[in-house]
Amino acid sequence: MNPVLSEFEQAIGRGLFRVPECIECGAAVWPPSEFCSVCLGGVRLGTRYGDGDGKMLRGRIVECSMEIPAGRLAGGSAKSPFFCLVAFECGIRLIARFVAPTPPAPGDLVALSSCGMSPNGSGYAFEVSTPDAPEDPAGPANM
């Protein structure tokens, strides 16, 4: 396994999401890879999210649905049946479980609330929820 991926997985195994970034052009490289898909530059792990220092990886829901019953195929404790494609402000898009008291809708602001290795062995697992912090006054971004 390449060193960037190995470091990324060590972090995510501890619940930390570190954005893989190109050393040359700064692009977020996702899924994590040894080389930037924009300029083929080297990649390092950048900003850390999830270690309680107040940083939030925020984004907006592009599309969402719900699995019936929750966790049938995607495994895990399935706290919520909802899953959604999220476009994060850092440029990363991924599918995450949505955990919140009310159902999600496209355009909703969310923040990464947890990450780890998937309990069903299918790679990474992400959860997003409605952020406590006030909404970005700039409005919808990265849709």
Binding site: V62, I95, S122
Partner: protein, 328 residues
């Protein structure tokens, strides 16, 4: 099929000694991409005769793209299909009831296809609507089923075709398009861009081959029969729209028209939903069906006097497509 070195293994098992045997893998569009490889061998002069075979076993591990970590733990195809369905319905105000006609039509067509893996009785629109919910946007009968299956076609140069048949079908156009590998980079969740690009290029190549000079092209109005990749209900309207057979958002209405008029112009054998979806064999089964249609040998499901046929086969949520235009 979960085993490497499949082409030499198949050649040995069939008692053949080809000069070359290689395997093409591209998830659900492996079949048509193998046809493209066979075509290229013949067109380049590397081979005169190529046997292209696709085979799959029901529980192949190949149907999930494990590489795509942007899908998180939601790697099973029902998740991308649900998000595309949700995106499509929201963009165009289409309902689950509107989409229920797609599998209903698929199974009705499959009823006259002896090679289809189909239930005894074709489900009705009500059966589709009442089938088990897998997600908020997908019912069991909206899904094509992985199955064991195989299909083969023989590609030859025009010079030697006469050794095998008096009535060859010509592969007149090929188009391929890749927009990404990962689902999260899908350009739009309400359209399958790769389908539009691949089919446009295949029609353009067929048009210029047809004697037209300088950018001559065929259009979908020239296509008499089409096999399209309805892996899930929503794929059919999205592809009909990509092909220009329906206005944006009108694909399900066109599916309904095809159903109500018992048209065999699109997916006469029942498509992937009606026939089963043995991944690596599907593109070959589609091409074989178009050949049968052009030969007017599709008993009980024959399209009206087809002269030009089209195959659309795609992979990984439509992030890539391959299209063929076939003429008699």
């Amino acid at each position: 099929m979960g085993s490497g070195y499949m082409a030499p293994i198949l050649a040995e098992l069939a008692g053949m000694r080809p000069r070359a045997a290689h395997t093409v893998e591209s998830l659900c569009s492996s079949g048509t991409n193998a046809i493209v490889s066979g075509y290229a061998h013949v067109a380049s002069g590397l081979a005169d005769v190529v046997l292209v075979s696709g085979a799959e076993i029901r529980d192949t591990p190949g149907r999930i793209l494990w590489w795509d970590d942007s899908r998180g733990q939601f790697k099973h195809p029902v998740y991308w299909a649900s998000l595309l369905t949700s995106g499509y319905k929201r963009a165009f105000g289409v309902s689950d009831d509107d989409l229920a006609v797609v599998p209903t039509r698929a199974y009705a067509n499959a009823g006259s296809n002896p090679d289809a893996l189909r239930p005894e009785a074709a489900p009705t629109v009500e059966d589709v609507a009442g089938s088990r919910r897998l997600t908020g946007d997908l019912r069991l009968l909206d899904c094509s089923r992985p199955c064991t299956g195989g299909a083969s076609i023989l590609i030859t140069s025009e010079d030697v075709a006469g050794r095998y048949t008096d009535d060859p079908v010509l592969i007149a156009g090929i188009g391929q398009s890749v927009t990404s590998a990962g689902f999260a980079k899908h350009p739009e969740l309400s359209r399958i861009v790769s389908a539009r690009m691949a089919c446009r290029d295949a029609l353009r190549m067929a048009g210029s081959r047809n004697g037209g000079a300088g950018g001559a092209t065929l259009s979908m109005s020239d296509v008499d029969v089409a096999e399209i990749h309805d892996a899930f209900s929503v794929c059919e309207p999205m592809i009909l729209e990509a092909l220009g057979m329906a206005e944006p958002g009108r694909g399900a209405a066109v599916s309904r028209e095809l159903y109500e008029t018992a048209s065999r112009r699109v997916n006469p054998r029942g498509g992937l939903i009606g026939s089963g979806h043995p991944l690596g064999a599907t593109g070959l089964a589609q091409a074989a069906e178009v050949a049968r249609q052009l030969w007017r040998q599709a008993r009980g499901r024959q399209a009206d006097n087809p002269e030009v046929g089209l195959v659309h086969n795609m992979a990984a949520a439509g992030t890539s497509s391959t299209a063929l235009v076939m003429v008699r």
